[in-house]
Structures are given as structure tokens and as C-alpha cells.
């Protein structure tokens, strides 16, 4: 199999929110690469910065958030530096965003077909779509997401939740982008509909041979879809690698604890949460941000911030246990199922 080419490269991206109490680092030096047709999943809980990251990549950040450094390279160009006129052309054709709760962002007084056409026509000049072909392209966009073409004449309230989400996906991908960033595309949906929407996303990806960045907090959902996984914590990538490797042998303690905290259908086991709380991004502890909650933490962890390093050929983790170890040691005894309180200065909580 010939190596796929790189379509997206994020280099040391940093995003800050300016608040009345000082800057809050929501994304702190994230780097990764996406190949054509590859499915990458970014898993993060509240406060991990995952939504900020997704929005930053497509340049849709609003003040008080701003990118302080880093590059987002799309097809050789730094997307963040592209002048505004070119940006319109690149958006939707190269990079598309399916935002959180996309189905709520549909215009309630416009028919679905008109909304899809809106996006197409706005970029018609650049992509040179003649107006008379728009109708056909609308039908095509709907077909891509498995919706029958007669839905183009309906209003959003006449569609079910799952159909609306798929319509939003159709609007975002009408120009057949090469990169799709999907931020929690199934968050408000029931589990059966969730499955359908994820299948649609999968078929969409295959049909367009697009690279997909799926952002979410549901590990089951993300790992079902993705080939490659990144785990975000406090704005940093703490682990990265092929999904099977990570599920099998997670190498970062946070990933390990996260997987352990998921209930399974196979057997009833005692429930283990991760003690403590995500750190306040305003008051990050020195050293590794996970150290206060980490069962493996030792002195170096509280002083020096670990860097993402390769553990195996394809798997990387940001943890001081490596390269001394090759795998995570067995978990130390923790009978504590309930919360272990963090030290006093960490008691402030950021919700992102």
C-alpha cells in the first residue's frame, strides 16, 4: 500500500482565552498529522480543550479566544495565515466543520435545500459551479449523507433529530472537502440514532476519501470510528497512536484510568472513577497536569512537564515513566472509589 499523503499538519498549536483574571491556556502545544482518508479521534473530557482545538483548526475562534502560536498546515499552506479572501475559498472546499449541536444551527425558516445551496453558491465563484447545476449538487450532497432528495423541500422542524444532524452534515460537506472536523456530532441524540449518524459519517468519509477529525468525550463512540486516537488532557496531547494499540496497551496513566472507568457489558465489575478533578487552567500545577490525580506520580512529575515521546513505532505518550519503562506498571492499590480531594489551590474549576 503506497503511503498516503499528509493533508493536515498541526504544529505546536497554542490557544488562549483572555479573561479578567489572566490568560487561560486552553490548547497548549498540540501537534499531530492527518493523512488523506485517515480517521482520527480526539478524546477529551470537560476542560481538555477539545472543542477549542477543533474550532481553532478551522479558524472559527471568537474573542476572547485567540491563537497565540503554532501552525495549521493544509496542503502546504498555513491555514491560520491565509488572507481572508482566500480563506472563503478554502473553507468548505478544503476544510469543513460539523459543529457541536449542528442540527440546532439550521435556519428554521429556510428549506434544507436552500441552506445547502447557500453554501454552494457562496463558493460558486471560486469553485466555478454554474447556478443551474446547484440543484443537482444539492441532491448529491443529500445523497452523500443518505437522505432522500425530496427532503430538500422540507423545513428543519419537519425532520427528525437524526435527519437534521445529517442535513447539517450535508451542508458542511456539500463542496466535498478533503478534511472534515466533526465536533461531538452525536451529542444530543439517542443511541440508535447515534449509530446511524456515525455510520453516515463513515460512509461520507469513504465516499469523499476525506480525512476526518472526530472530537468527542465518548470513548466507545470515538474508538469505534477512528483509526488513530489522540487523548487530550488540560489542553495537551498526552497519548497518541493507532486505536487498537491504545485500547490494548494504553501507555499514559490517564488513558488507562479512562478506559478502566468505562462500564462494560461483559461483566459486572466494581466501578472505578478517576479521583480528583480536572485542573483549573488558570492555575495549572507545575509539572505534569495529571500528576495530582495520577496513581504513578513521583517527584519528577510535579516539577517537570513531560513531552510527547515515541514509545513504540506508532504510539506516543507524554509521561516520565518512559523510556525507563516499556509499559505501564500494574496499578497501585486504590480501594478508594470516591473522590480524593485536590489540594486547596486547585479547588477552582474551569469549565470549557
Amino acid at each position: 500500500m503506497s503511503p498516503e499523503r499528509e493533508v493536515l499538519r498541526v504544529e505546536d498549536l497554542r490557544v488562549e482565552y483572555v479573561t479578567s483574571d489572566g490568560p487561560v491556556r486552553a490548547v497548549d502545544g498540540v501537534s499531530f498529522t492527518l493523512l488523506a482518508g485517515q480517521r482520527m479521534g480526539l478524546i477529551g473530557e470537560s476542560g481538555s480543550g477539545k472543542t477549542t482545538l477543533g474550532t481553532a483548526i478551522v479558524r472559527l475562534l471568537r474573542p476572547p479566544a485567540r491563537v497565540t502560536s503554532g501552525r495549521v498546515v493544509v496542503d502546504g499552506n498555513d491555514f491560520l495565515q491565509v488572507p481572508d479572501r482566500e480563506l472563503r475559498q478554502l473553507r468548505m472546499r478544503e476544510v469543513a466543520l460539523i459543529p457541536q449541536a449542528a442540527m440546532n444551527s439550521l435556519n428554521p425558516v429556510m428549506r434544507i435545500g436552500e441552506q445547502i445551496a447557500d453554501g454552494l453558491i457562496a463558493h460558486a465563484q471560486s469553485a466555478r459551479i454554474p447556478r443551474r447545476d446547484v440543484g443537482q449538487r444539492v441532491g448529491g450532497a443529500l445523497a452523500q449523507v443518505g437522505l432522500p432528495s425530496h427532503l430538500a423541500n422540507r423545513y428543519p422542524h419537519q425532520l427528525s433529530g437524526g435527519q437534521r444532524q445529517r442535513a447539517a452534515m450535508a451542508i458542511a460537506t456539500a463542496l466535498q472537502p478533503k478534511i472534515i472536523v466533526a465536533d461531538e456530532p452525536t451529542s444530543a441524540l439517542d443511541v440508535v440514532v447515534q449509530r446511524q449518524v456515525m455510520q453516515t459519517l463513515g460512509r461520507l468519509q469513504q465516499g469523499l476519501h476525506a480525512a476526518v477529525l472526530l472530537i468527542g468525550h465518548d470513548m466507545g463512540l470515538v474508538t469505534q470510528f477512528a483509526d488513530v486516537i489522540g487523548v487530550l488532557y488540560a489542553g495537551r496531547l498526552v497519548e497518541q497512536g493507532p486505536v487498537d494499540d491504545i485500547l490494548d496497551t494504553p501507555r499514559h496513566p490517564y488513558t488507562r484510568l479512562l478506559i478502566d472507568s468505562l462500564p462494560s457489558l461483559d461483566e459486572k465489575k466494581p466501578l472505578r472513577g478517576i479521583p480528583g478533578l480536572p485542573p483549573s487552567l488558570l492555575n495549572l500545577p507545575p509539572g505534569c497536569p495529571f500528576a495530582p490525580r495520577c496513581p504513578y506520580a513521583f517527584d519528577r512529575c510535579r516539577v517537570e512537564t513531560p513531552v510527547l515521546q515515541s514509545i513504540t513505532l506508532l504510539q506516543k505518550a507524554a509521561c516520565h515513566l518512559y523510556p525507563a519503562h516499556t509499559n505501564l506498571p500494574p496499578l497501585p492499590e486504590t480501594a478508594d472509589l470516591l473522590e480524593v480531594a485536590p489540594p486547596a489551590d486547585e479547588a477552582d474549576v474551569a469549565v470549557l
Binding site: Y17, V18, T19, S20, V24, P63, V351, L352
Partner: protein
């Protein structure tokens, strides 16, 4: 998920302690309009409270001084053609206008609050009746009705003036409060309060009302401002109180004695300036309060 509330101070009890106060002042809820409006209104209030003690009220009686004098060192705002000192009239009239506005605002708001709460919280037939009443009265040209009422009153006083205006000032607060109550009523914390053993009235007063305070304040300012406007309108038509000076009656008298034709700008000018000042102050205050009440209006740097 909402943005980092990085201003989370560990729970310190005193709301008026220094750190909390500094926090409030720095908070994005406080806008320039709010501060400016507050300062302006405070000036007017100070004038109204202390002014009358500092002037000689007799100078505002007919024939007290030489009439039709332009402003001079002796009579800073001149005198009207009836021989009254304009400065004294202004100082005595402004508080009266404010009083009318306050009476109408308070009464109108109180009625609106009660009706809005009942309508929004209890729903059903109560809501239907109140809503139909409020909605239909809103479409009626209020000035016309107030003219009829005012003209039928024999001896118009400041208090009666206030009530007349209040009669048509309660509908807007009713609707505003009602819609807020409708949305608050659906929140989970209301159900939690019921689960905690609160009775319906307890829920109304302890859970719903506190969240209405910003809207009540904003409605109040709006009501007072509208009331002053309506009162001035009625007074300028000659339907105002005839036993005291108000800003509006001053305009009426100046009109009656052709002050405009005679070029006696110091007669109709000052009341207009004063009224405008009060309005601008109330407007700024109201939009400042709107921002306190509605977080979405706040702009972040």
C-alpha cells in the same frame, strides 16, 4: 459548556467585603452606560432632595419678582412673565416631576409584578384573563385615555397624576415579568425546591422572585421613564397638578404666555433641558441594567 469562569473566588461570605466589591466593579456586567446613568440620576436626586431647602420658595409665587427678566447675576435663569424666579421654579419643579414618575413607576410596577407573577406561575385561566387584559390595553392609545381621565378629575394633585399614569403603565411590566416567570418555571431547580418540601408560594418567593430582580429593576426604570414622559405630556396640555410647579406645567405656562413668540427662551428652555437630562440618565441606566440582567448582551474584550 460555557467559558472558564476563572473569576471563581473561594466562597467568602461577605458580599460587601472588599475583594467581592472589587470583583463586582471589574465584572463585565458593569458598563459605562450604567455608571454614567447612575451618576446622572444621582445628581438629579441630590438636586431634588437638597435643592428646595436652599432656595426661597416664595420666589416662585406669582408676582414675587420683576417679570420677564433675561438671565442675570441676580436671577440666574431669569424670570417668567408672571414674576416668578425661574431657578426657584426649576428647583421646586424637578422633584415634583420625579415624584410623579416614581409614584406611577412604583404603582405600575407593583401591579405588573403581581399580575405577571400570577399569570406566569399559575397559568391556566388566570393567565388567559390577565394576558387578554394586558394585551388589549397595550393597543389602546394611552395618552388619549389619560387625557380623558385627567380632564374628569376635578382637582389634580401630584399623587392623582401619578395614579392616572400608573393606570396605563402596568401592562408592559406584566408582560416582561410574565415571560421571565414562564422560563424560570421550567428550570429544574424549581422542581428541586418542590422536592425539598417548598410549597407553591415558597417556590414563587424564594426561587422565582430572586431571579427576577434584574428584570424588575430594568422594568422599574423603564416604567419611571415612560411615566415621566406621559406626565409631562399631560401637563403640557394643561392637565397637570395646579397646586405645585412641575417641569411639564412650566412648559404649559410658557406656552400659554407665548414665551416662544416673545423670545423668552429662559422660560421654556430650562424645563426641556432638565427633562432631556433625566431621560438620558434613565435611558443609560436602563440599558446598563439590561446588560446586568441579560448576559448575552455583554461584550468581552
Amino acid at each position: 459548556m460555557s467559558l472558564a469562569t476563572a473569576a471563581a473566588a473561594p466562597g467568602r461570605r461577605a458580599l460587601f467585603g472588599t475583594t467581592a466589591l472589587r470583583g463586582i466593579l471589574r465584572s463585565p456586567r458593569i458598563s459605562g452606560s450604567l455608571v454614567a446613568g447612575l451618576i446622572m440620576i444621582t445628581l438629579v436626586v441630590l438636586l431634588s432632595v437638597f435643592g428646595p431647602r436652599l432656595v426661597n420658595a416664595r420666589l416662585a409665587a406669582v408676582g414675587a419678582v420683576r417679570p420677564s427678566q433675561a438671565p442675570s447675576a441676580q436671577y440666574l435663569l431669569g424670570t417668567d412673565s408672571q414674576g416668578r424666579d425661574m431657578l426657584t421654579i426649576m428647583v421646586l419643579g424637578t422633584p415634583q416631576t420625579l415624584r410623579i414618575g416614581l409614584i406611577a413607576g412604583v404603582v405600575g410596577l407593583a401591579v405588573g409584578l403581581v399580575l405577571g407573577l400570577m399569570s406566569g406561575f399559575f397559568g391556566g385561566k388566570v393567565d388567559s384573563v390577565i394576558s387578554v387584559l394586558a394585551d388589549s390595553l397595550l393597543t389602546v392609545p394611552s395618552l388619549a385615555i389619560m387625557v380623558v381621565i385627567a380632564a374628569s378629575v376635578g382637582h389634580m394633585t401630584v399623587e392623582l397624576m401619578g395614579l392616572t399614569v400608573a393606570a396605563l403603565a402596568w401592562m408592559h411590566p406584566t408582560r416582561t415579568i410574565r415571560s421571565q416567570v414562564l422560563s424560570i418555571r421550567e428550570r429544574s431547580y424549581v422542581s428541586v425546591a418542590r422536592a425539598n418540601g417548598e410549597g407553591e408560594l415558597g417556590v414563587l418567593f424564594r426561587e422565582v422572585m430572586p431571579n427576577l430582580v434584574p428584570y424588575i429593576a430594568a422594568s422599574f426604570v423603564g416604567a419611571v421613564s415612560g411615566a415621566i414622559l406621559a406626565a409631562v405630556g399631560l401637563e403640557a396640555l394643561g392637565l397637570g397638578p395646579n397646586d405645585v410647579h412641575t417641569l411639564g406645567t412650566t412648559i404649559y405656562w410658557s406656552q400659554k404666555f407665548s414665551a416662544v413668540l416673545r423670545g423668552q427662551w429662559w422660560w421654556w428652555g430650562p424645563p426641556i433641558v432638565a427633562i432631556s437630562f433625566i431621560f438620558v440618565a434613565l435611558f443609560l441606566l436602563s440599558s446598563g441594567l439590561d446588560r446586568v440582567a441579560n448576559p448575552k448582551l455583554r461584550q468581552r474584550t
